[in-house]
Amino acid sequence: MLQVISLVLENKPGALMRVTGVLSQRGYNIESLTVARTLDPEVSRMTIVVDVDATLRQQVVKQMNKLINVLQASDLTESPAVVRELVLVRVRTAQESRTAVLKEAEIFGGRVVDSSTEGFAIEVTGAPEKLNEFIDVMGSYGEIDVTRSGALAIALDARKLKLQPPVPTKAGVKMEETAI
């Protein structure tokens, strides 16, 4: 089973590389990865889907939590969470199939974002498995191009973000001494 890891991390250069390094160092291939800012522009949220041996999943999340730039890493694989993905499909289809394609898109809750004589571009969001089905269906109508966003996950139970307080430096101590 694929592991879904959700991270809250500082929006800093190199932070992404540190997180993916924990996986690449162990030879794991990332199935999908999404990252974007949160309400706080200095903080990003990342969702990673990765195929990790069951015995090493805890270790991987612990190693991510150790990273200085990571505020919180949690394994959502077996906890209450919603996982969604967006797909954009461009389908080239013959005139006689246009109505059928639109009907199928409707079944999947899709939205046509571009229409031309050659076919459509359709956007669908949903659980990743649902999108696989949609892509299969579209493929049966003609040539397709597909872009997927990768999974986005949000935990349904409250996870309090514990942030560490500032710490004094030795420079500060010395400053007070010399101020006398």
Binding site: P13, M17, Q59, L71, Q164, P166, T169, K170, A171, G172
Partner: protein, 577 residues
């Protein structure tokens, strides 16, 4: 305004506020402004002869003192040469800060002269690293680097600084506090788990303390000693933990693992409670993991949550600073009821068993030979002169294992050796760092003839700084440990391990302006070591030892640790017809 200064000066100001008195480094193009600032001399700079050795020397300094060691190198090759030392410090949890120069910000990414992606290359080689492109970030980053290096589980931090940041001018404002919201340092240890630990300790019939580098890093030697005495438990110390309990302490057995003693490995296999303190269940200690301490419940105390449960799931995990956790355990244990007689009786039997194992196969040098110097005899003779109070730095290989087995340490921070990474060439430069940190201490650098040749250039650093290091080369003409494996596991097909062309050591020492000699007769050993120790300056002693000795006991890779090879194969007696 008076506090207008260059980035380079600002860096030195921050270093000096962090208490840095000495840095090990090698200059280059982009660090010219830094070296210009160093010219004014508030911090001593030790010029090494290769950047890798700057990192090793900083490690030696840090290992000897517990303070953060500092090294610096220029961009490109300077920075890439540091990386072995960084990984070494990462593996052994040693606090060092590495400062590297980077090409000017406008040139970054243009394949400029001596440009390398230091930030990218050293990301997996450090606990954390920084690229500084703006002068206003510099003081904060330096203080963060020192805080991260020294706190929690210590480790190396690299700060890569662009040339124009060194050159820029700015008003220096001391940074009085830093904020790392995602950096969690676990200190206290869970009270409930500590109580459970006490309960297991009081019930245990065959307890064993398994302590390591975490004790040294936490400065918890006196707490460990109190704990061992309160519980009257036998104790083993890992390679990284040697000296955490005095070698002469009656509860101390020895080092466990691949080249650990028979008694240590049997005790680990036989105990019913394993009290693991600041250790990481390294494969060189555990042997085959599923046969390690098979009858034991485990209490694991470590400051790094990722170590607890990594290799062995403990019954009682305690994430915290081992010094504070031990203090709490000691308090609870000394307030506890005396042990019931049934437990005390089992404990007496356990001690009888442990002593019996020690008697059966003691860890000691074999009888000295009249014809050749045995490497074990060399270590035993060094041990007599070190008397548990000298610093001993080693390289990696056979000599390292014999030194660990046969040289005793009465205090922590005297034994300085590359454990996790096993970096050859570590001994000489780490001794430079240790001697700089402790100028009045007797410092031995015990090296093999292989590792010595990896760090030969540092003889110049030793000569230039008049460091009275006693360099003892255990010279068996081979890369001994690799040769041992080829002998034992590859039908003695010796491939690529003969070290021909070794230099004349007396001439080499003379060339650098200090004394040295080569010996090969057993009768010469004592006098030569005495001479080395009494020499006011450095001494280079090349000891030609028996070439084909193997380190025993040995747990072959993949075996359980109680499945040891205790000595060379003996001729089998053939029954007379």
């Amino acid at each position: 305004m008076s506090n207008l200064m260059s980035g380079a000066k600002m860096l030195l100001e921050c270093l000096s506020r962090e208490g840095v008195d000495c840095i090990f480094g090698y200059p280059g193009g982009v660090t010219l402004p830094l070296y210009d600032a160093l010219y004014d001399g508030q911090i001593r700079h030790v010029l090494v002869r290769h950047e890798e050795n700057a990192a090793f020397a900083a490690e030696g300094y840090a290992r000897a003192t517990g303070k953060v060691g500092v090294c610096c190198a220029t961009s490109g090759p300077g920075a890439t040469n540091l990386t072995t030392g960084l990984v070494d410090a990462l593996m052994d949890s040693i606090p060092i800060v590495a400062i590297t120069g980077q090409v000017a910000t406008k040139l970054i990414g243009s394949d400029a002269f001596q440009e390398a992606d230091t930030f990218g290359i050293t990301r997996p080689a450090t606990k954390h690293n920084y690229l500084v492109k703006s002068l206003e970030d510099l003081p904060r980053v330096i203080h963060e680097a020192f805080y991260i290096a020294a706190s929690g589980r210590p480790g190396p931090v690299l700060v890569d600084i662009a040339k124009d940041v060194f050159q820029g001018q700015g008003h220096y404002q001391p940074v009085s506090s830093i904020h790392l919201p995602g950096y969690k340092v676990f200190t206290e240890g869970h009270t409930g788990q500590i109580r459970r630990a006490v309960q297991l300790i009081q019930e245990a019939q065959r307890p064993l303390v398994y302590a390591g580098g975490g004790i040294v890093a936490a400065g918890a030697a006196s707490e460990l000693r109190e704990f061992v005495e309160l519980t009257d438990s036998p104790a083993v110390l890992t390679l990284m933990g040697l000296g955490a309990l005095p070698a002469s302490h009656p509860n101390y057995i020895s080092m466990p693992g691949m080249h650990g003693s028979y008694a240590s490995n049997m005790a680990l296999t036989g105990c019913d409670l394993l009290i693991a303190l600041g250790v990481r269940f390294d494969d060189r200690v555990t042997g085959r993991l599923n046969a390690f301490a098979p009858h034991a419940k485990v209490i694991h105390v470590d400051i790094d949550p990722a170590e607890v449960g990594k290799n062995r799931a403990p019954e009682v995990p305690v994430v915290g600073d081992v010094k504070r956790v031990l203090a709490k355990l000691n308090k609870l244990l000394s307030a506890g009821e005396p042990l019931p007689e049934s437990v005390s009786a089992s404990r007496r039997d356990w001690w009888r068993q442990v002593r019996e194992w020690k008697r059966e196969h003691p860890l000691e040098a074999p009888e000295p030979s009249d014809t050749e110097i045995k490497p074990q005899t060399l270590m035993a003779e060094i041990n007599r002169r070190a008397a548990g109070r000298a610093t001993v730095c080693t390289d990696v290989g056979q000599h390292q294992m014999w030194a660990a087995q046969l040289i005793g340490f009465e205090e922590p921070r005297l034994w300085i050796s590359s454990g996790g990474l096993g970096s050859m060439g570590f001994g000489l430069p780490s001794a430079i760092g240790a001697q700089m940190a402790c100028p009045d201490r007797l410092v031995f650098a015990i090296v093999g003839d292989g590792g010595f040749q990896m760090s030969i250039p540092e003889l110049a650093t030793i000569a230039a700084n008049k460091l009275p290091i006693k360099i003892v080369i255990m010279n068996n003409g081979h890369l001994g440990m690799v040769r041992q494996w080829q002998t034992m596991f590859f039908n003695n097909r010796l491939s690529g391990v003969q070290l021909e062309g070794f230099p004349d050591i007396a001439k080499l020492a003379e060339a650098y302006g200090f004394s040295g000699c080569t010996i090969e007769r057993p009768s010469e050993l004592g006098p030569a070591l005495d001479r080395a120790v009494s020499e006011p300056g450095p001494f280079l002693l090349n000891v030609k030892v028996a070439q084909f000795e193997c380190v025993y006991p040995m747990v072959p890779a993949g075996n359980a640790i109680n499945e040891m090879v205790l000595g060379p194969p003996q001729p089998v007696a053939v029954a007379a017809k």
